[in-house]
């Protein structure tokens, strides 16, 4: 019984952490999973792009 109560309260805490009271849209499971799958790569893309821009400006001749 204690276990059940503990699990229920954990569930309530987890749900409370997600601000869903106003969320009228169903985000869709597939759409959420896709964001998890591509998020890392996409973030890496930004890092690489920033580094690339820095590298390019390093080799670029400074304007006089």
């Amino acid at each position: 019984m204690k276990k059940i109560i503990a699990m229920c309260s954990l569930g309530i805490i987890t749900l409370a952490a997600v601000p869903s009271a106003l969320a009228y849209l169903d985000p869709g499971s597939g759409s959420m999973i896709l964001q998890v799958l591509i998020g890392g790569l996409a973030a890496m893309g930004i890092v690489l792009k920033t580094q690339w821009v820095k590298l390019k400006s390093f080799f670029k001749k400074p304007k006089e």
């Binding site: 952490a17 009228y24 591509i38 996409a42």
Partner: protein
């Protein structure tokens, strides 16, 4: 006198607030449940930043008494001159709206907030400039978690843009029959294989559609994802979406309309400028605030109205002409003229829940002045509409009418009649004037120099009943 609050169509789904009109003014109610989100929007600097960039509609807190116990505040946003919908936009209008949505999302994240949806209906146009109108779309971002609006963004923006770019611009009309955007599995079926060669489309459309199908009947706990996507990942996804959208370009398809004025008309240069003079004169006589130019092509004559300071809607059936006009106005920074795609033989209907979410064209009127230049032969002959019905329709759209009669001697009409039997014995100046005088008083008639065409300025007769005001069709709160 009892002041009635009239709740407006599309805002009932939201829990954060709703839109209503009172005394012909538009207000937005912010609900108590949205209080902390609204307060952060205003106090964090996000609102000011978005206003400075002219990305979000300006609002003022109205000192109105709360109409119900859910209400936290009543705000009064600046009025949008004309509400338009994504299925009336040309390619670049939808594309600019998509980029604006992503820019606002990025800005919101920088201030610790996020957009809770990505509806294309949250964007409106003031002239040729897109602006975000849903002040209650911003929500506190807990620091982690995926974007709830991702699916909607792909359906409302990415799918129709990809279809327009890879198939045909006319596919934007699918947004009229799919009010929550084009289902991704439908877009994936309609797109050609070569679209898969673009990484962005492969991921955000094709893979997205596949995952949606795979997980459609599976139970997945939402909270599992709450911590799997961080802010950096979200910025990455936004950058990827933006790159995908920016790379899409409208197909270079040529239509019969886009070069309409080039060697295709019944005017030489002098009669063309005479026509412009007459229209300017009529516009000055009518002195309108709002003008609807029906069959505006690339906006040559709409310009005459907007130059006089009138808010002008340049409607045309041809996507390409509207696209050309939008890009021209966008570059010029026009805030008065809005080009829109509209098929007058089947104007935008009222759609959505209870037929009240998105208004029909008529419900968004009436205009002060309607212009119908070089249009009547297309309606009367190509579309077989009797002249009296055309007069009746125009009389519901505006108070004054500037109309051009194009007789059978004109080569454009001869072209239309060349492949069909002439079953229009009443299609002549006398028949035209008789039909229109049932609904309008003719105030001025001027023939265009060196052509068979004649321009009329008409005023709607009062005896033909009231115009169709949209208030009749809305729910009282």
């Amino acid at each position: 006198m009892v002041v009635k609050n009239i709740r407006l169509g599309g805002s009932f789904r939201e829990r954060g607030g709703s839109v209503f009109s009172r005394d012909d003014k538009i207000y937005r109610q912010v609900n108590l449940g949205y209080k902390q989100h609204y307060d952060l929007l205003m106090s964090s600097g996000l609102y000011n930043s978005l206003i400075n960039k002219q990305w979000l509609i300006v609002h003022h807190e109205a000192g109105l008494k709360s109409p119900n116990k859910e209400s936290y505040k009543i705000i009064k946003p600046d009025r949008i001159p004309f509400i338009s919908y994504p299925y009336e936009w040309a390619f670049s209008q939808l594309k600019d709206a998509a980029i604006l949505t992503l820019s606002i999302l990025r800005e919101a994240l920088a201030f610790g907030m996020i957009l809770k949806d990505a509806s294309a209906y949250n964007i409106q146009f003031i002239g040729a400039k897109p602006i975000f109108i849903d002040t209650t779309s911003f929500e506190i971002y807990p620091g982690k978690g995926p974007w709830v609006g991702y699916r909607q963004f792909c359906q409302h923006f990415l799918a129709p843009l990809a279809l327009m770019a890879y198939r045909d611009e006319r596919t934007s009309k699918l947004l009229q029959t799919n009010i929550d955007g084009i289902p991704l599995d439908l877009a994936a079926r309609l797109l050609p294989r070569q679209a898969k060669l673009k990484t962005g489309l492969l991921v955000h459309l094709f893979l997205h559609a596949r995952l949606q199908q795979n997980y459609a009947d599976k139970k997945v706990a939402r909270e599992r994802f709450a911590h799997s996507v961080g802010k950096d990942q979200l910025f990455g996804i936004i950058a990827s979406l933006e790159k995908t959208v920016k790379k899409l370009a409208p197909p270079q398809q040529k239509t019969e309309w886009q070069d309409y004025y080039r060697g295709n008309c019944n005017y030489d240069d002098s009669s063309f400028s005479h026509k412009k003079e007459i229209i300017s004169k009529f516009l000055q006589q009518a002195a309108p605030t709002i003008v609807w130019d029906l069959g505006a092509n690339t906006g040559v004559f709409s310009d005459l109205a907007s130059k006089l300071g009138a808010v002008t809607m340049a409607f045309d059936i041809d996507q390409r002409s509207v696209e050309i006009n939008y890009r021209r106005l966008s570059q010029a920074g026009s805030s008065l003229q809005l080009p829109l795609v509209m098929d007058l033989t089947a104007p935008s209907p009222a759609i959505g829940w209870n037929n009240q979410e998105r208004y029909s064209l008529k419900e968004r009127g009436p205009a002060d002045t309607v212009m119908a230049l070089a249009l009547i032969h297309h309606l009367a002959i190509s579309n077989n509409v009797p002249l009296r019905n055309i007069a009746e329709f125009f009389s519901t759209l505006g108070r004054t009418l500037i109309i051009e009669f194009v007789p059978k001697e004109d080569t454009q009409v001869q072209k239309l009649l060349s492949s069909r039997e002439d079953i229009f014995p009443e299609y002549n100046r006398t028949g035209f004037e008789e039909a229109f005088q049932d609904y309008f008083k003719i105030e001025d008639i001027i023939p265009v120099n060196d052509s068979y065409r004649v321009l009329y300025l008409m005023r709607k007769k009062k005896s033909h009943g009231k115009l169709l005001f949209f208030e009749d069709h809305k729910n009282a709160v």
